[in-house]
């Protein structure tokens, strides 16, 4: 089956702090059809995201398909609060790139 990387389908793929203890990820699609296609493929799921980032599923506090914005959104607990010694991304804004190349089957 033919696949394309997520970055060719999504308009926005981003990560950002959600408060001091979490980082949230947004994958936003311009067209509803594309959003539906990605949702139906089930390639982006709580389980697959946990595998991609090598974290336990318990660390994913929210995982939603948000129809009003044609968006998939999930949130993870940080391993330490933002800005603590050892934290390399105070704003949490550079944690999305592994999502860019996730392969989505397109029929």
């Amino acid at each position: 089956m033919k696949t394309v990387p997520l970055q060719d389908l999504a308009k926005t793929i981003r990560s950002k702090n959600a408060g001091t203890d979490k980082i949230t990820f947004d994958i936003i699609f311009k067209e509803k059809d594309t959003y539906d296609l990605v949702c139906k493929s089930s390639v982006i799921s709580k389980k697959s995201v946990a595998e991609l980032y090598k974290i336990s599923e318990e660390r994913i506090t929210d995982f939603v398909q948000y129809d009003p914005a044609n968006a998939i959104k999930f949130t993870i607990l940080r391993d330490r609060p933002s800005g603590d010694p050892g934290d390399g991304d105070i704003f949490g804004s550079q944690q999305y790139p592994p999502l860019l190349s996730v392969q989505i089957p397109v029929g």
């Binding site: 959600a18 408060g19 947004d26 009003p68 044609n70 933002s82 800005g83 390399g88 991304d89 550079q94």
Partner: protein, 461 residues
């Protein structure tokens, strides 16, 4: 009663980077009813709150306050600022109050009423609450607050809801400088004070607080205007090239929050599950279907606390030798072992961030193979005293230079330095509180003051 209320928001974080003036003036020319802006965030880490400082430049803060103050005073409409000076700490409120007074004098503004409130919470208050067996719940998986948490915390701010802003407006305030506040409450307070429904007031606050982040194409620090009626909220981009589209507005509803459906604040929650978005005109999106759910029982106010971890130094080492790059983990492990020996019995934090490998993502980085021909290693050393932190960081950074792998060709040094020294990065702090405290009166944690500005000058002249 007004049929609709128009609120201008010029910037998603006042002063963090200067407000763009063109779209602000376009918006101001339409004569909005209120000018509201948030000036802080917990995004910036705990150090600014702990060390009682801003992370924004004073010049930009003054620039943005000047734009808003002059426009608001010219029209004679209120201006509301929340989370003064990045943290909303008391010293930041005082600084903004002084800026407003200075600006009033510089521009010879007619007298006006200035209100300001403090958000810092005395640690003794929290200790007495704990002693009275009040449960202060932790958020995001944190445990309930303990006396030890309070004791190690340097500074605490409570996050205000609409209450101190509404109170100040009722007292006739023209300008309000708030301590730490929920972003959405700054806008919602204006609308609720004017008699508009809570659901539209809070939704407007949620969508307006980041200014042009809810518009497209992407462009920060541009003004937008929210229009609140008794039936809906409309949001309009002011920049000539930006629009608030269904996608940009709905997309923004989930920005910086763990869940796109619920927004929590002191006094209740905004439920956006059934929000409906429609394109009203080319620059405007209309939103309906939001719900306001008031809290059951006591109002709970969020607390943010910052505890000192220690003094921080940063060292930087570059590596170009390919054999060293392939064995970088071993090199850093050797450096760590040397440090452990040298600083035995001392308490410290030592971290290596290896850029070119996993410096950005750390443990979350799925790419394990190093593809870069050079690495940059940032050494972070934290200890109680500056002296120990400096020695620790310098020692660790130099160990990268001295790492002797058995087969390395270059035996004169395995690191390149920009400086043969380490850099003081200030005192560093940790978020020690992300909790909620129940209160009887939503104003009890916020100390509100009102004064007349420019009156003395008037009497003298």
């Amino acid at each position: 009663m007004k049929k609709e209320l128009r609120i201008l928001c010029p910037n998603g974080h006042l002063g963090f980077a200067p407000t763009k003036e063109e779209s602000f003036h376009i918006g101001a020319a339409t004569k909005p009813d209120y000018y509201c802006c948030d000036s802080g965030s917990d995004d910036i880490g705990a150090s600014a709150l702990g060390a009682n400082r801003s992370v924004s430049m004073y010049k930009w803060q003054k620039h943005d306050l000047e734009l808003m103050l002059l426009a608001a005073r010219e029209q004679g409409v209120p201006m509301l600022i929340g989370s003064a000076g990045d943290t909303g700490g008391n010293s930041r409120v005082d600084m903004y109050v002084q800026i407003i007074k200075d600006l009033a004098k510089e521009h010879n503004l007619p007298p006006f009423k200035l209100a300001y409130f403090y958000s810092e919470v005395d640690r003794s208050y929290l200790k007495s609450q704990l002693a009275n067996e009040v449960i202060i719940e932790g958020l995001d998986g944190r445990k309930v607050l303990t006396r030890e948490d309070v004791e190690r915390t340097e500074r605490v701010v409570a996050v205000a809801g609409i209450h101190p802003f509404v109170k100040a407006l009722e007292m006739g305030a023209d300008v309000i400088i708030g301590g730490r506040s929920s972003d959405c409450a700054i806008f919602a307070a204006a609308a609720i004070h004017e008699g508009f429904p809570e659901e539209h007031a809070y939704y407007a606050g949620k969508v307006l607080e980041c200014a042009s982040f809810c518009a497209e194409p992407y462009g920060a620090k541009e003004s937008i205007i929210g229009t609140i009626s008794h039936d809906d909220v409309k949001v309009t981009a002011m920049h000539p090239d930006q629009s608030c589209t269904i996608a940009s507005v709905a997309g923004h509803a989930m920005y910086e929050r763990s869940n796109p459906y619920f927004e929590y604040f002191a006094g209740g929650m905004l439920d956006m599950t059934n929000c409906h978005y429609e394109q009203y005109d080319s620059k405007t999106t209309r939103i309906t279907g939001q719900k306001y759910v008031p809290v059951e029982g006591d109002i709970k106010v969020k607390l943010e606390g910052s505890a000192k971890v220690g003094e921080k130094y940063i060292g930087i080492a570059g590596v170009r030798d390919p054999y060293t790059i392939q064995n970088i983990d071993k090199v850093l492990e050797m450096a760590r072992e040397q440090v452990e020996k040298e600083f035995e019995g001392e308490t410290y934090h030592l971290n290596f961030r290896t850029f070119g490998k996993d410096g950005v993502m750390g443990a979350l980085e799925p790419v394990k193979e190093i593809k870069s021909h050079e690495l940059g290693i940032v050494v972070e050393g934290v200890a109680d005293s500056k002296e120990t932190a400096e020695a620790l960081t310098l020692f660790a950074t130099r160990q990268i230079f001295y790492a002797r792998l058995p087969e390395v060709k270059g035996t004169a040094g395995t690191a390149a330095y920009l400086i043969d020294d380490v850099i003081y990065a200030g005192a560093t702090y940790s978020w020690s509180m992300n909790h909620i405290v129940p209160v009887n009166d939503p104003l009890e944690l916020f100390d509100l003051h009102v004064e007349e500005v420019g009156k003395d000058e008037l009497v003298k002249s």
